[in-house]
Amino acid sequence: MLSLRNLIRSYGDRRVLDVDRLEVPTGATHALVGQSGCGKSTLLRIVMGLLPPDSGEVAIDGQPVTAAGAPHRQIKLRHRIGYVIQDGGLFPHLTAEQNVTLVARQLRWDPYRIDERLAELAALVHFPSDGLARYPLQLSGGQRQRVGLMRALMLDPPLLLMDEPLGALDPLIRARLQADLKEIFQRLGKTVLLVTHDLGEAAFLAGTISVMRDGRILQSGTLRELRDHPADPYVTEFISAHRTAWPE
């Protein structure tokens, strides 16, 4: 279980994050939605330990984690978290395979184990095995994102953090990847915290959603709860801003 308590982060006078409480049960997928600059990416970076909070606590499975920990502990912690960003965040000078296996090789995994895991992941995310030797520039946007996902899953971390993972894709590829992601989440039973600005995506992939604005979580709940019992007019506004192709 991932739990956040009283997280505060400011840049100068500006408070960009002020979250009292957020909990994601083990195996559940939770989505953070809101406009750009609402603080959702900052929250993710604090959980990742890339950014220290001014105050507050992040705990994974009851163990507190802070950005100020000893470097080797920090590194160990990060191996337990998979991190996926927009466009995959792949290193352009490494092939798809090298990107995925980078950390496992640092950890001196047995080569057979690496190959086995690689094949397993390629099958899981539907990535063609002949693409593994290619460089990121030789892959399509959707393929890059699948490689990014493989890289995040390589060490089989219990927690996945995803920051606008499908942001740069066109609608058809996006829909396919959404379906694949949903299947993967369900099959692997990972705890997932997903940041997106797309409410439809959030509702499709996540059981519960938090609406954020100006660094605060306005309301958390299922989409139905948000729609039927909005805690704030902004929640209603945000939900109704997402039109569907079908007239209601």
Partner: protein
């Protein structure tokens, strides 16, 4: 599973190899300091200085001393630094230069005054060798006869004469402006001209008056009338020996032999010797032997003359050595400095501004400083200077390459839980490698050009034939240095383009997307 490149994966090992190479090469190349037995003679980068330096060397040898001659110590600052540091024991100098450039004394200090000042530095000045190599005005011999011109003051009556002067003399405050005022000259046709061309123009009657140095080689050929400086405008540039005061104690025989030249060389004899080198393209070893015979009645055994056959190859190899070693050292130091600069804002300000500052030091001033600092001339200070000049492009490009890595990728590397060393070696340096390679290439190409200046401190290289060709008006010799230098620059460029393919990861060289 293999990386295409793993630059610096084991930096320790590489560093050792390079360092070893550096030390071995340095040890093999640096000439030893003047030892007690050997007399080291220096000379500046022009023909008369070579001839005098060679004459001193031969005369010392004929007295049974070990003697060597370091030529082309270019610029008074450099040869003076070499003398003070003990890299050389003696070199031919001129009283006017000592007063103006070394002691910076205003007015016309006496020899005694200059001696007492230099004694404090452990240096001495001999009596005049017998000739003055100072400024004079020269007139076409026919014009001089026709108008009866003997003295500079005679020119005052002829404002119609056409005057052509070196640009330096024309512009210097103590040059033409004061001279014309001093003598009341009112010529209107006064222009600047290159020195050698002026002699041709004077000979062809295109100009009437020019400035000369009183022992110019061309005087032997053109035979102009040198006008007497009857109102003593020009300072004296009497040739003297500037020497270390410990030389007589260390090698009295050599010093006594050298002193036999004092008062023996007259202007026509020096002009003839210069003409042999500059106009007849004879080696200065021969000209010096002739000078010793004619002026001092000394017969010396003929000195061996360096032949030109393998010389181009030798100069090129030395040039490559200078460039290669200084560049390798600059890479070894510059890349870590660039990495340090990219890590800390404070360090980056310090490192980048220091490297930038080094670049602004004029090269000859830097060389003079390094000779004083290291106490030697030759390859040592040349390598250090080239190393310092090579640093900036390497440091700056490493810094830029590392700091322009997209922030999301830098963050991704951190989020993956890669150890800092792995992040640097596997992610950051490979991604910065195109910029780092560009910096190395820039340094290398600049270095090939700058290394020609090494000839000015006796370190050899392709600057040597260029310098000699310039001084002896020998285009062929200039090309012997300039053409290999240009080819070398092209070769270095080509080599780095090739190296790019080996070092820069393939994924960074792709242009097309597989979409």
């Amino acid at each position: 599973m293999q990386y295409l490149v793993e630059p610096g994966i084991r930096p320790g090992q590489w560093a050792w190899k390079w360092l070893l190479l550096l030390v071995v090469s340095l040890a093999g190349m640096v000439p030893a300091r003047a030892q007690d037995g050997t007399v080291a003679v220096g000379s500046k980068a022009f023909a008369e200085s070579w001839v005098l330096g060679e004459a001193l060397t031969q005369i010392a040898r004929s007295a049974g001393a070990e003697a060597k001659h370091a030529r082309n110590l270019g610029g008074t600052d450099i040869v003076y630094a070499a003398l003070k540091s003990g890299s050389i024991d003696v070199y031919p100098e001129y009283t006017g230069t000592i007063a103006e450039a070394i002691l910076k004394l205003p007015g016309r200090p006496s020899l005694a005054e200059m001696r007492s000042r230099l004694a404090a530095e452990g240096l001495g000045i001999s009596d005049s060798l017998g000739f003055n190599n100072g400024y004079a005005l020269a007139v076409n011999p026919e014009t001089a006869r026709r108008l009866g011109l003997e003295k500079i003051s005679d020119l005052a009556k002829h404002p119609e004469l056409r005057v052509a002067l070196t640009h330096e003399f024309l512009e210097r405050k103590d040059g033409w402006p004061s001279l014309s005022q001093h003598y009341g000259l009112r010529m209107t046709d006064v222009r600047g001209i290159q020195h050698d061309l002026a002699y041709h123009a004077l000979q062809n009657g295109q100009i009437d008056v020019m400035d000369v140095y009183t022992t110019d080689a061309q005087i032997a050929e053109v035979q102009p009338r040198l006008l007497e400086d009857d109102r003593e405008f020009f300072p004296r540039y009497d040739a003297v020996l500037l020497y270390r005061l410990d030389l007589p104690a260390r090698n009295l025989r050599a010093w006594a032999a050298m002193q036999r030249l004092v008062g023996q060389i007259e202007e026509p004899e020096m002009i003839a010797a210069n003409a042999q080198v500059v106009l007849e393209k004879r080696p200065e070893e021969q000209a010096a032997a002739t000078l010793l015979r004619e002026a001092a009645d000394l017969a010396v055994p003929p000195a061996p003359v360096a032949s030109g056959a393998g010389a181009v190859l030798g100069h090129t190899l030395r040039h490559l050595q200078l460039v290669g070693i200084s560049l390798a050292a600059a890479a070894l130091v510059g890349i870590p400095l660039g990495i340090a600069a990219a890590r800390s804002r404070l360090l980056s300000a310090l490192i980048l501004s220091t490297a930038g500052l080094l670049q602004t030091i004029p090269s000859l001033a830097l060389l003079a400083f390094l000779i004083a600092l290291l106490g030697r001339i030759g390859v040592g200070p040349a390598l250090v200077a080239l190393f310092l000049y090579s640093l900036l492009p390497i440091v700056r490009n490493t810094y830029v390459g590392l700091t322009t890595i997209p922030p999301n990728l830098a963050e991704a590397a951190e989020a993956l839980g890669l150890a800092p060393a792995t992040r640097l070696l596997r992610i950051e340096l490979p991604m910065a490698s195109p910029a780092i390679m560009a910096g190395l290439k820039t340094s290398a190409v600049i270095n090939v050009g700058t290394a020609t200046l090494a000839a000015f401190i006796g370190a050899g290289g392709l600057g040597e034939p260029i310098l000699r060709g310039l001084q002896t008006l020998n285009d062929q010799l200039i090309l012997q240095g300039a053409v290999p230098a240009a080819l070398l620059a092209l070769a270095v460029q080509g080599a780095f383009d090739l190296l790019d393919r080996m070092v820069v990861p393939r994924g960074l060289r792709l242009r097309t997307s597989g979409d």
